[in-house]
């Protein structure tokens, strides 16, 4: 009787356990050194370490600057930041591939969160989070005012001179505007 009761309690606890408790997130890389503008890829694996199938998981990628004052818009880093994960059987795993583009220079952390789906979120279940991927993006700027100014000023100036010269020449020749 005691065994039966213990078994029932165990089953009840497992059935009601939050998805995150039986889900483990790993990441394929821990560090990325890249240049501003370059794209890098990595993968995350969600493993179901529990005894019941897990379904409805939503994997979401986020990017955070580790330097105060550096603005990050994750939309610019990755256009596909949300992936809906197929059901995972007990002991099984699902892999998500992510492509990210470094659009700011500096030190950043990229991580993936597994949300427990509509029912789990409504029930207030905790999230499962991957280890962070440390990203160091080197600035590679070749644009500056000094480099751009000659073209920015010269092209319109030359056109203006040409136009004025043609207009004055036509006036001198007494030609009317067509």
């Amino acid at each position: 009787m005691t065994r039966l009761l213990a078994c029932t309690v165990t089953i009840a606890v497992l059935a009601a356990s939050p998805a995150s408790a039986s889900v483990d997130l790993t990441i394929s890389r821990s560090h990325v050194a890249t240049q501003l503008g370059d794209t890098f890829a990595f993968a995350t694996t969600i493993a179901n370490t529990g005894h019941t199938p897990v379904s409805g998981l939503v994997a979401h990628l986020n990017v955070v600057s580790l330097t105060a004052g550096v603005y990050v818009d994750p939309e610019d880093w990755s256009s596909e930041r949300t992936q809906y994960v197929d059901p995972i059987r007990p002991g099984g795993a699902a892999t998500q591939r992510w492509k990210v583009k470094a659009v700011n220079g500096g030190d950043f952390a990229v991580y993936v969160v597994a949300l427990p789906g509509r029912g789990g979120v409504a029930a207030g279940r905790p999230l499962a989070v991957s280890p962070p991927l440390a990203v160091h993006a080197t600035e590679h700027r070749t644009l500056d005012t000094a480099g751009a100014l000659p073209v920015v000023l010269l092209v319109p100036a030359l056109l203006a001179v040409l136009w004025l010269w043609l207009t004055m020449r036509r006036r001198r020749l007494g030609l009317s505007r067509a």
């Binding site: 503008g37 659009v103 644009l143 073209v151 920015v152 092209v155 136009w163 036509r170 067509a178």
Partner: protein, 256 residues
């Protein structure tokens, strides 16, 4: 080869005595402002450099094609309004040759605009090796779009009763074509959003430019996106040269 005579005369009127140079001056001032802001302004400098090249090229294609459309929209309706269409129609040149000469002259506006855009593309793109790609993709996509728009402008101009009507219709169509570029990202997703983007020659051309310059896709990978610009170019060039001149009258056929 009367079209050559017509084209030569139109080119002379446009570039030596007309509005070709002032239009190009305004165009280069706009490109200078865009390039300077991209290079120096902190609020724009977060743009990755390939994106800066793509943005500048898309501005160049859009405004260059707009200028070509404006010139084409004046082709016949302008002559009609200035009272010179009658003598033009009485010349031995066939109407299709008149239309071809005028279409080529209007297209020269785009070619000049693109040539002027090249130094800006070099300034923005040479540091990341994007200049050659930008020039080639700009030449291909921009020329196809410009042919489509000059064809459209010539057709409307041949049919419109007044220059004002011709310009209004052309600008309205152009605005309608550019409107989807301002849609939020979500509206461009899904099969219908993608279909709208592919069917519209302007959005399809811009998408192709972005894919090649920003995403680094190969030339052939997204070639299907060029189908609608190519189809529009062939259709409107044909209509402008072969069909619309048949309906060319001294008074025009539209209201106004």
């Amino acid at each position: 080869m009367a079209w050559r005579v017509v084209a030569r005369q139109e080119l002379r009127d446009l570039w030596l005595a007309g509005r070709g140079l002032p239009l190009m001056l305004a165009f280069t001032v706009l490109l200078s402002a865009t390039t300077y802001l991209t290079a120096t302004n902190q609020s724009l400098n977060f743009l990755e450099q390939h994106e800066a090249v793509s943005l500048t090229l898309q501005v160049a294609v859009a405004v260059g094609a707009l200028l070509a459309l404006l010139v084409a929209a004046d082709a016949f309706s302008g002559e009609r309004e200035r009272g010179t269409l009658e003598s033009l129609l009485l010349s031995p040149a066939r109407r299709s040759e008149l239309a071809l000469g005028k279409l080529l002259a209007a297209l020269s506006t785009w070619l000049a605009a693109f040539a002027l855009a090249c130094p800006y593309l070099w300034v923005l793109g040479h540091g990341v090796g994007a200049t050659a790609d930008a020039v080639v993709v700009g030449a291909v996509v921009g020329t196809v779009i410009a042919v489509a728009l000059t064809g459209l402008g010539t057709v409307v101009s041949a049919l419109a009763r007044s220059n004002r009507l011709s310009l209004s219709v052309c600008l309205l169509v152009l605005l309608a074509l550019f409107a989807p570029t301002q849609f939020p990202t979500g509206a461009k997703e899904g099969w219908f959003g993608e279909l709208l983007q592919r069917v519209n020659p302007i959005t399809a051309g811009n998408h192709y430019i972005g894919n090649v310059l920003v995403d680094g896709h190969g030339w052939s990978r997204d070639a299907a996106w060029l189908l609608s610009p190519l189809a529009a170019a062939v259709l409107f060039a044909f209509l402008a040269v072969a069909a619309a001149p048949r309906f060319l009258t001294l008074r025009g056929s539209g209201p106004g």
